[in-house]
Symmetry: C2
Subunit: 201 residues, 2 copies
Amino acid sequence: MKIPPSLERLVHELARLPGIGQKTAQRLAFHLLRTEPGRAEALARAIVEVREKIRFCAQCFGFAEEELCPVCADARRDPDLICVVEQPSDVYVIERSGVFRGLYHVLLGVISPLDGIGPDQLKVAELLARCDRRPLREVIIATNPSIPGEATALHLSRVLAGKVARITRLARGMPVGAHLEYTDDVTLNQAFDGRRDMGAG
Amino acid sequence: MKIPPSLERLVHELARLPGIGQKTAQRLAFHLLRTEPGRAEALARAIVEVREKIRFCAQCFGFAEEELCPVCADARRDPDLICVVEQPSDVYVIERSGVFRGLYHVLLGVISPLDGIGPDQLKVAELLARCDRRPLREVIIATNPSIPGEATALHLSRVLAGKVARITRLARGMPVGAHLEYTDDVTLNQAFDGRRDMGAG
């Protein structure tokens, strides 16, 4: 194969990205090669900048450019309400939805005994310290609805008991747009368990 | 939404790539943020380098880093055989397959009257000049099997007539792995037309 080395290198680097196969990497490389001046360079600069600037927030361990992340630094956010998530990327998703107005706490992982990850490997002590620092109205546990996510939620509900006025877990049930026919048994079970009144008979 | 600006910028730039939606852009951004040191920087460098180094080959108009592309510069390639393609990316695809040992000629487009693109807007004169410079054994026309690709092939076969010993077009028919049941009528028609003998009766 006779291909200019710089083009081959770009295809190779793009193909290392998750979910990007050889063909998609080629297509992206040709696009970057032909796109208007400045566009490809802007992407390259954005990659370098994100690596240089992003670190963990000193309070919540979400992504930050300063000591505190934009959420923790925002005086308009409700400081008596903390949403606990597994990863900084979860903060991004909830922020995009605009559904939550409190602060976050990122565990930077989940309890997973098989991988040797217990509460001490996560930011659990830091969460307890935040609860001790000021009386919280509510802690919302938003770890994933997976086995390690549930185990982590259970552990947190135990260690937080007595320290917080209210501990909640995100609702489980059928997502919008789902069909009963294709819903798995566990989700169906939880949808029945968590059913809500629609009015009196 | 409270997201560090550098992260938002990276997601924005990634989402501009073809076939990359908002969710995929987020996933790629988080990956680039967390990947091992040097990996993301290597991608950024590859993007910048490809833009700085790649230009069109002076002979075939494929992608090159020098005056001539690696194919044209290779003395072991057969100079009496030219494969005509629409885009430099087509050269990449044929080179990857390893199926062809001659030289290329890239038209940098196809004839498309509706877009105001005729032979003069393409590298057709340059192809004729190459044919005049040395007697070619064969010109293989490998424009796409689309309406503009066919129109271009027809035009080339006319202007090349008498200048080249042999003018051919890539075979049309059913691709490997196809099913008769799902094959479109035009392809089926061409597969019947181009049928080959398998032995005497």
